[in-house]
Symmetry: D2
Subunit: 139 residues, 4 copies
């Protein structure tokens, strides 16, 4: 399913806001959207790449985050049923960039990007393995 | 204390990393730096503006976040003693932008910005009250 | 569905463990099970009581927690698919007590109780409204 | 400093409540007190035992939590300056039990216990090393 040229979208994932996600303003605390982004890209990998991130890790390749951008347009409230929409936005020899939209029904509440560098288990930056980059280019 | 032209720095704040901040990679989970940013700007307001954010809220003015950018340069680990350095980077008629550096000793681990819009208690965007903007310009 | 005398069980709820739930020991951080308990009792209320907690709040009745007990038998790991099993264990004139089991497949990893007191919106303790207590007794 | 027979108290630790700790009820979310307990026992170990938990880990001995009990007497609010009081309550051949009081000024808001089992790095339960248990008995 493609919605924007160049973006490879995964299946939306549902998330119900709990008390623990909110703050005293009655809305989701700003840091917690980064957890929703994680849920989104994990399920993207499982669904689209066909590999849980856990398996990538076990094979010795990690994708630590190097950059995050978030745009907060409207707040999500307690007990709201959100959907997390995740797309691969960009792939280079050493980085992956994901794009996210957090929605309540059709309304976009929050958008963002996360950029990840490929690294081995010692933390050393490395090239994205061919198996993964080819898999992604063939999507 | 000024370190860059145009930046109004507050006092650094110390933070000791706990287990609950880390993730299975053994380092601080990427969302948790946004809590450190909150600690930083809260203490900036208390120290530099001379007003706890709590008092601003009580007087009917809120500063919800509208944008966040984070750059992760190196990971912070368990039990690391970090310092949070916070500066006001920009002020417009309706927004405040803070800049942050998270350090371990002299090493910068993470940097970021948060942009906040002035709003009243109903969530309606509003001008930053003169009392605050003048106070900031006179820093 | 009853599995133990006196316990009124709701439908199990699934939860997939994310990186953000884990700590450097590679397992779910001990505080985060309390979020799973919240998910469990919220869905119990929605399903069994037929009232989202949000509606109870809106009608002026809150159930702040007064006591928590947790028994950690075995750790949950990253990407584990857990199920949260929630039962009402006890109801008095002023308190509700829930019992929880967190499982991976058939294995019980964590159990716990939370006890909640009925309060009005000012925080004053109050009797559980008849409408709710009768509804529960008729389950 | 002893305040109750049999309890070995450490120095109180200060903690300032942030937005990210609170929930939509305007008070600290119930799970977050377990992070304060962690801060308390970590500083207890550093101060009283003279060994950061990090060093115990590095020497191959872990203390995963097996049981938690929390009693919520009164809520802590945003920007409250809390103190975390931690004492060793009990030591057996294989477990340590800590007791906590979270206070605002002299008022006790929350109390609790955490029980920890000694384990090696594979997770296998083990005896508490003599060096530690003797150190504790001589306090």
């Amino acid at each position: 399913m493609e919605r924007k040229s160049g973006l490879k979208w995964g299946q939306p994932v549902s998330y119900r806001v709990i008390y623990g996600d909110t703050d005293k303003a009655g809305v989701v605390y700003y840091a917690n959207y980064l957890k929703l982004f994680e849920i989104g890209r994990t399920e993207w990998m499982r669904d689209i790449l066909g590999k849980p991130y856990r398996e990538l890790e076990n094979s010795g390749i990690l994708f630590p985050v190097v950059e995050v951008y978030v745009r907060y347009k409207a707040p999500a409230g307690y007990d709201d049923l959100l959907t997390i929409h995740t797309a691969l936005k960009d792939i280079s020899k050493v980085t992956l960039t994901f794009y996210y939209e957090i929605k309540r029904h059709d309304k976009i509440l929050v958008t963002g990007n996360t950029k990840h560098a490929a690294a081995d288990t010692t933390g050393k930056l490395t090239r994205i393995p061919k198996e993964i980059s080819l898999g992604i280019k063939n999507l």
